[in-house]
């Protein structure tokens, strides 16, 4: 429902009085300003020609490709593993549920250098996991798989939490109606639970993606430099976050700002695309039904 047509009233339609509206605008505006000012600084620090150079530079391109591809895999992993966990938490009661919920919240809460260190200790040469990952062709240390692993660790909880809430919000009587009308458990999930939870799940997946692309702490330890291997075949590179950190620590402020600007534009465009899709209704989670 669009704003102002029986749904959420627009700012003008509210009859709450001016002081209340002004207070809301001032507080919300302060936060928006905090979001925008550093971006403004980034966008204006590097000249347009430097930004263009960064955008067309092969090394920067590889870093962006690596970051987008690895974060895409992290989102895929969240779809496969995090949604079922969210469903389990949202729709079933079981012993030890609070423990599971705490475990899920842990990656969000701990400093990510710790995450990198923990994963590093798990997969360094000599450990069983090192031998396993080597033997099945998924070496982790300084490879794209390491990047993906860290990204999944830090970002999947957002999808778990969002799906948990989304599945929990479904009226159980709607599901009971579906079952009594002839749907088996799997059919009821696909035709009722999933479509109804989809918007919440997608919101979680967007957060997962955002968290994955912005990760640096764990990657610094587990995959600072990414060597060719697996789906990555280019020259040694690193994620955008590590690349910017490198440029900054070597004193190349213009370069760091230029790369950041390029990546921000890409990320902003992706988010905008999703939001516009939701507004216009061509994305399935907006329509509410998976099938047209």
């Amino acid at each position: 429902m669009s704003a102002g047509r029986g749904g959420t009233p627009t700012l003008r339609q509210r009859h709450d009085g001016w002081p209340w509206l002004v207070l809301q605008l001032v507080l919300a505006g302060t936060l928006l300003l905090l979001f925008l000012l550093p971006l403004y600084a980034l966008f204006t620090y590097a000249s347009p020609s430097e930004i263009w150079q960064a955008a067309t530079n092969a090394a920067v391109g590889e870093a962006i490709w690596l970051t987008l591809f690895a974060s895409g895999l992290a989102v895929l992993a969240a779809v496969i593993f995090a949604i079922p966990l969210g469903y389990l938490l949202g729709r079933r009661s079981f012993r030890g549920r609070s423990v599971v919920e705490s475990i899920v919240a842990l990656p969000v809460a701990v400093p990510h250098l710790l995450v990198g260190l923990g994963l590093f200790l798990l997969v360094i040469p000599g450990t069983p996991l090192y031998r396993l990952t080597q033997s099945i062709g998924f070496p982790v240390y300084d490879t794209i798989w390491g990047v993906v692993l860290v990204m999944i660790f830090v970002s999947a909880p957002y999808t778990v939490l969002a799906s948990d809430l989304a599945f929990r919000a479904i009226d159980p009587r709607v599901l009971e109606a579906a079952r009594s009308l002839g749907a088996g458990p799997a059919n009821a999930f696909l035709t009722v639970s999933l479509p109804l939870a989809l918007r919440g799940i997608v919101a979680g997946l967007l957060l997962t993606w955002a968290r994955a692309v912005s990760e640096i702490g764990g990657i610094l330890i587990l995959a600072y430099t990414v060597y060719p291997g697996g789906p990555y075949t280019g020259p040694p590179t690193s994620t955008v976050s590590v690349l910017v950190y490198d440029l900054f620590s070597s004193g190349n402020l213009q370069g760091a700002a230029a790369v950041s600007t390029v990546f921000l534009l890409i990320a902003f465009a992706l988010f905008l695309l999703v939001r516009v899709g939701e507004r216009t209704g061509w994305v399935p989670w907006r329509r509410g039904e998976l099938l047209p």
Partner: protein
């Protein structure tokens, strides 16, 4: 035509225990399940529908045991409280859902027929959120019938409907009873609906089947305060009030006719002449199509009474002293 039998059915929901329940559901029979909040009405429906496991007893359809069958195999139309419409599907796709689930080939034609029958064609493309209460009820009923159920379970069907919508749904329900011959179990708080729709009443009390009776039996022998109030006895007097009655008063007279849970009696009718064994003072006056409903103060307590509509005369006035009789036959012991 299928008939169902429920024998010794018991189930548990956390600490609540339901049963044992025995019910015979012949084709076309409508059973109203009555009871206080927490008596187990919804629990019974959910156990019949297969959402709560039966701890003991059996549910049989034409002799076939369905006690442990999953809900989708029971072939019943379950309309939960709140209706359980799919908010993400249009009216048409709500109604077509059971046909899609059973992969019925001519689902489009059959959906269309149901939409026409329940006057939903012009609403076919709407989502449930944009329907009125009565329209939602019709969608729920059409959807339940699309499943070609052999038993209809309906939790609070007339809940939160305005007068017009209730009347419209009454007619739909009448037609349904005449054409479908499907046994129905409905849970309701609404005596008017229960008496207009049901032929058998199952009174639940703390999870147990307190009574199974037809309407006439229930009226003649309400047995407990809840049932008495439900079937329309305006005067239900509890044991403490009876015990405190002074000799020679109406309440002392009622105490002699009471059971362990008190006594119920119908509204006494005030005669125009003003004679009768008992006296009271009019407290409130409410004209209704069936006469004037009065509340009288009698010996420190309230008695609901009625008087015939005045033929051109004035309404009885509050504060006026009146005399009335309580016919022996209208008094029923409880408990």
């Amino acid at each position: 035509m299928t008939s169902w039998s429920v024998t010794g059915l018991e189930s548990d929901l956390e600490r609540f225990h339901l049963g044992p329940i025995d019910l015979d559901l012949a084709p076309g029979r409508v059973v109203a399940v009555l009871g206080n909040s927490g008596a187990g009405k919804t629990t019974l429906l959910r156990t019949l529908a297969g959402f709560l496991p039966a701890r003991a007893g059996a549910i049989r359809r034409d002799g076939v045991d369905l006690t442990v069958a999953p809900p989708e195999r029971r072939r019943l139309g379950y309309v939960p409280q709140g209706l359980g419409l799919f908010p993400h599907r249009t009216v048409e796709r709500n109604v077509s859902y059971p046909l899609e689930m059973r992969a019925v080939l001519d689902w489009k034609r059959r959906t269309r027929a149901l939409l026409e029958r329940f006057d939903l064609v012009r609403l076919a493309d709407r989502r449930p959120a944009r329907l009125s209460g009565g329209e939602m009820q019709r969608v729920a009923l059409a959807r339940a019938l699309a499943a070609q159920p052999e038993l209809l379970l309906w939790d609070e069907p007339w809940q939160a409907l305005d007068v017009e919508a209730r009347h419209a749904l009454d007619l739909v329900f009448e037609e349904l009873r005449a054409t479908e011959r499907v046994p129905v179990v409905l849970v309701t708080h609404d005596p008017a609906l229960a008496f207009s729709a049901a032929d058998t009443f199952l009174v639940l009390r703390a999870g147990r089947a307190h009574r199974v009776a037809d309407a006439a039996t229930l009226l003649a022998h309400p047995l407990d305060a809840f049932t008495a109030r439900f079937v329309g006895y305006a005067n239900v007097v509890d044991p403490p009030t009876l015990a405190a009655a002074a000799p020679g008063t109406l309440y002392a007279w009622l105490a002699a006719r009471a059971g362990p849970e008190g006594v119920a009696f119908a509204r006494p009718t005030l005669e125009p002449g003003g004679s009768g064994a008992w006296s009271g003072v009019i407290r409130t006056v409410h004209p209704t199509p069936e006469g004037i409903a009065l509340s009288l103060r009698v010996d420190g307590a309230l008695v609901a009474a009625r008087s015939l509509p005045p033929s051109g005369g004035a309404l009885p006035a509050a504060g006026a002293a009146v005399r009335f009789d309580v016919p022996e036959g209208s008094v029923h012991p409880l408990g």
